[in-house]
Symmetry: C2
Subunit: 211 residues, 2 copies
DNA sequence: AGCGCCCAACATGTATACAGGTATACACCA
DNA sequence: TGGTGTATACCTGTATACATGTTGGGCGCT
């Protein structure tokens, strides 16, 4: 039970919506639960704070972050900026073998769609493309933003409904990549992300109970 | 001596080049130096790790990050992407009063130029513009990337020489803002950052002694 | 009855002590 | 002489104990 292990478990629960936005993360409770002292728990919370998933207030403990609609909008704008740039840089590096690999990942994510692992499959598809740009820091930043969004996607359990449309978006992006048309691929990706942003924001502003 | 205070001091020393890239940050040494136990030191190091300024390896302690030229190139590309976007979003929100304030900050940074506070003055100018876009997370990301660069700028103490040209760049950007010409302002900013990137990379690849 | 203060219970922050891992230096062997 | 194994010293990781700060409730006052 290292801090990294604990952080990974908490991250999973945050992303799965088990720990809701704003939830208190008591050191003593977590220490009992994981069967360790509070020290590794503190380390784990610091790790998550560094990733932006929890907020630590001095003498007042940690809690899962809670975002306003405005912050969600900003995060999706940042994702559009960073992901489109990453895609644009990836296009020239794509080989036929890469295309086959991306198609393979896409098919696999089709199968996961609707299930609890849909988010991993979706990310696997995007990552398969992005990593061809060879921008490790940019990829890490995208992943961090993505995780932050996922916190709220799960909390509002809004995504399964829109699944088919997303899978179509993926098909469309891949099609443009096959044609080597970077700008149309970027446009397709932008629409893909913009759609997700609008959908989540609608859900958030619709049910005001938690924000 | 809270973890935040300690982290701030270490951050200052990292940015000032007192702690060189790759330098070992021993918990016991820091604990003695700050007159506290290792626990708050660990917290401080975790904070800095979250900001990407130090790297923590399990059972092997923390050290100041060390970047390859390729990573520096990527970071500057990210800065160009994020800062230009921020500037573009800020332009429509600029009022005459804002322009006067930016000019005031610019003049102040002129005076600091060459001294040890030049980095703060430079950042104050950029921030005065960026904050008008009202993108707190984006601004935080830019600041984090900027800090990472600064680590190496200080380590290679390469910037004072180029100072006058940068001040001209600032003048040029402000001039375009006065004309309300977003695209030319963005171009000027892009050239400004690109120049800084090239200059730092030249110094890094030139003196291979430390990397 | 409403408001404010005080105290007690609890949570977090920090120090000390101990356990476990890593690295270096030295001795031994090929 | 070079390489390897081991032992030792140092450093980090964790648990326990104590200090400090926060919060909620009860009591007294207005």
């Amino acid at each position: 039970m290292t801090p990294e292990t604990i952080a990974a478990e908490l991250r999973r629960e945050l992303q799965a919506g088990i720990l809701r936005p704003g939830a208190d993360l008591s050191q003593v409770q977590l220490a009992e639960r994981f069967g360790v002292s509070r020290i590794p728990i503190r380390d784990a919370l610091r790790i998550l704070a560094g990733e932006g998933l929890v907020a630590i207030e001095v003498n007042r403990g940690a809690r899962a972050i809670s975002l306003t609609p405005g912050e969600v909008r900003e995060i999706y704008d940042l994702r559009i900026l960073l992901e489109c740039d990453c895609l644009r840089r990836a296009v020239p590096a794509i080989s036929p073998a890469n295309l086959r690999e991306i198609e393979r990942v896409r098919l696999k994510s089709d199968l996961d769609a609707g299930g609890p692992g849909w988010a991993e499959g979706d990310w696997a598809f995007h990552r398969a493309i992005y990593q061809l740009a060879v921008r490790p820091r940019q990829l890490a930043m995208i992943e961090a933003l993505r995780r932050t969004c996922l916190l709220f996607v799960s909390a509002y359990s809004s995504m399964p409904a829109k699944k088919p449309r997303w899978l179509d978006d993926h098909r469309m992006i891949l099609q443009q990549l096959r044609r080597g048309d970077a700008e149309h691929a970027v446009l397709a990706l932008q629409r893909h992300l913009e759609g997700a942003a609008r959908h989540l924001l609608q859900r958030m502003t619709g049910s005001r109970s938690k924000s």
